[in-house]
């Protein structure tokens, strides 16, 4: 894997990816979240995007499916430029994707089975409901939740919700699955269940996966390639071993979960904890 942390040092094969983001810049007001990003997602591989909270990982993944549009730059899917398409034209393209949202984004007015049937209802002519039932059963079995068809999302735990959302994301047999923080908010065991599911889908369906996470255990487990975002730019790009040995201090601080010197200095300069515990006299009773 090649590094692309230096400007103009862009791998020449970037145009061959299944999804290509070419010079993507995204601003919210005056805040530049993505700054001239160039990234090609290889077919059949799992690309993991890491970076600290608020660095633009979710914004990046949403550009891949055009849930957000760039201020400048181009997005390609299977070599076809898609950022200039209308929403209506994009809808057809989006059926090739599955998207697992951070909170699952299950429709809370629909039960588990109806959530999974939703994309089928929208894009397939359903004549045989028995067949659809079987399909729902198979998708739920894939994520280990067969038997939960009639449950409503509010009755499910966080991990179950994500697994149902994953079953919904694979309902249309997508070529690409985008995972937005799939393990956030889950205990280590549930996180590992999700990681195993990502690997299982990769093995069994041969899908291309893009995983956005700041969970390094998850990243090392599922990644074929890891890309690190920092301040709107890609500062490291390579396989897990390459990232482990990456010389950039920001990368090392991040993957080892260490606070950097600047943040430590800010903490040391701030007041003592006892000062922050001061309460007004009337309240302190």
């Amino acid at each position: 894997m090649k590094e692309v942390d230096k400007e103009n040092n862009i791998p020449a094969d970037n145009g061959d990816g299944l999804i290509v983001l070419k010079n993507i810049t995204k601003k919210f007001g005056t805040n530049t979240v993505l700054d001239n990003i160039l990234l090609a997602v290889e077919k059949g591989k799992t690309t993991v995007v890491i970076g600290p909270s608020g660095c633009g990982k979710t914004v990046l993944i949403k550009h891949m499916i055009l849930l957000l549009r760039p201020n400048s730059g181009e997005v390609y899917f299977k070599g076809r430029r898609i950022d200039n398409l209308r929403e209506r034209q994009l809808n057809e393209i989006r059926t090739h994707y599955g998207f697992l949202f951070q909170g699952g984004a299950l429709f809370d007015s629909l039960n588990v089975a109806e959530n999974i049937i939703f994309p089928l209802r929208q894009h397939c002519e359903i004549n045989d409901f028995k067949e659809v039932e079987e399909l729902v059963k198979a998708k739920l079995a894939m994520v280990g939740l067969d038997g939960y068809q009639n449950y409503y999302p509010a009755k499910l735990s966080g991990g179950q919700r994500k697994r149902v959302a994953l079953a919904r994301a694979i309902a249309l047999n997508p070529e690409v699955i985008l995972y937005d923080e799939p393990t956030t908010g889950l205990d280590p065991i549930r996180s590992d269940v999700i990681n195993e599911l990502i690997l299982k889908l990769q093995r069994e369906l041969n899908v291309t996966s893009v995983v956005v996470t700041h969970d390094m255990t998850s990243a090392y487990k599922v990644a074929d390639r890891i890309v690190m975002l920092h301040k709107g730019k890609i500062i490291a790009d390579g396989d897990p071993d390459y990232i482990r040995e990456h010389p950039h201090p920001v990368v090392q601080h991040f993957i080892n979960g260490q606070v950097d010197d600047d943040d430590l200095a800010v903490l040391r300069m701030s007041g003592a904890v006892s000062q922050a515990q001061f309460l007004p006299r009337d309240f302190d009773q």
Binding site: E87, R94, Q102
Partner: protein, 270 residues
């Protein structure tokens, strides 16, 4: 500095107007497409139940109190001129033409508009609307169009309910409490209220229904994050719906009056 701030606010306001106009246009197109697509009928049916059927009691109560209050308020003035038997005309024409439709619509803006904005706003902040888009479905067609159609189709019927209860309420107070002769009450009412007056109120309902639905859906779709964002969107939706109901009522009154004067120029002089 001031010029810059004013300029930025003006551009922001124009952007909002543009976005709302685009949303309205897309909602209308999506509603038209939904009309000819039988697979969306269950969605529309479901919304008609939530929006229409469950609003009947509240709209009927509103209508009844409008009629009853009008009777109490207008009686003394008419009785002072010896015209108390004309009370029915005043109540019924006010109810069917103005107060019934407007107050029923305001009540619907509170009940339906708030619920629609809160529901869609919550869907927006929990990424459910993005989820609809990510699955290749147009969220305006799936979420907004059934609500717009349900409001468009059912607001006129709800207004008819409000009108009926307003008429009954006005009659009961006038005849039972204030002692006006029942036969005279209905006789003057029948001669003073025309089908045209009733139709105006019902047609207004079509416009009010669309305004409430489109504004509420737009506010839900563009809601800011967090509980505060959803709450703010609901407030804005109600205020905007309320103002649009009043503005539409005025505009439609002017239009209907000119239509009436064009087709029946002498009748208004009688």
């Amino acid at each position: 500095m001031i010029i810059g701030t004013v300029g930025a606010k003006t551009i922001g306001g124009l952007n909002n107007i543009g976005r709302f106009a685009r949303f309205t246009w897309m909602s209308m197109l999506a509603s038209l497409r939904s009309c000819i697509s039988p697979c969306t009928y269950p969605l529309i049916w479901n919304q008609m139940n939530l929006i229409g059927v469950r609003s009947v009691p509240v709209v009927m109560i509103t209508g009844a109190f409008v009629g009853m209050t009008l009777a109490v308020q207008a009686y003394d003035q008419l009785a002072g001129m010896g015209l108390e038997e004309h009370l029915g005309v005043l109540i019924n024409i006010s109810v069917v033409k103005e107060l019934g439709p407007v107050l029923a619509a305001v009540m619907l803006a509170g009940r339906i508009g708030g619920a629609l904005t809160a529901e869609l706003g919550t869907m927006n902040v929990t990424e459910q609307i993005d989820a609809v888009r990510s699955m290749g479905t147009d969220p305006i067609r799936y979420l907004a169009a059934p609500r717009v159609l349900a409001c468009l189709l059912l607001t006129p019927f709800l207004i008819i309910y409000a009108d009926l209860m307003g008429i009954v309420g006005g009659y009961l107070v006038s005849v039972v409490q204030l002692g006006i002769n029942s036969r005279a009450y209905w006789s003057f009412s029948a001669s003073g209220v025309e089908l045209w007056d009733v139709s105006i109120g019902v047609v207004k309902g079509l416009f009010f229904g669309v305004a409430i639905a489109v504004i509420s859906c737009y506010k839900g779709f563009t809601c800011k994050e967090g509980a505060h964002g959803v709450g703010q969107a609901c407030t804005e939706a109600f205020v905007a719906s309320f103002i649009s109901i009043l503005a539409l009522d005025f505009a439609l009154a002017v239009i209907f009056k000119s239509i009436y004067n064009t087709f029946w120029p002498l009748k208004s002089l009688v």
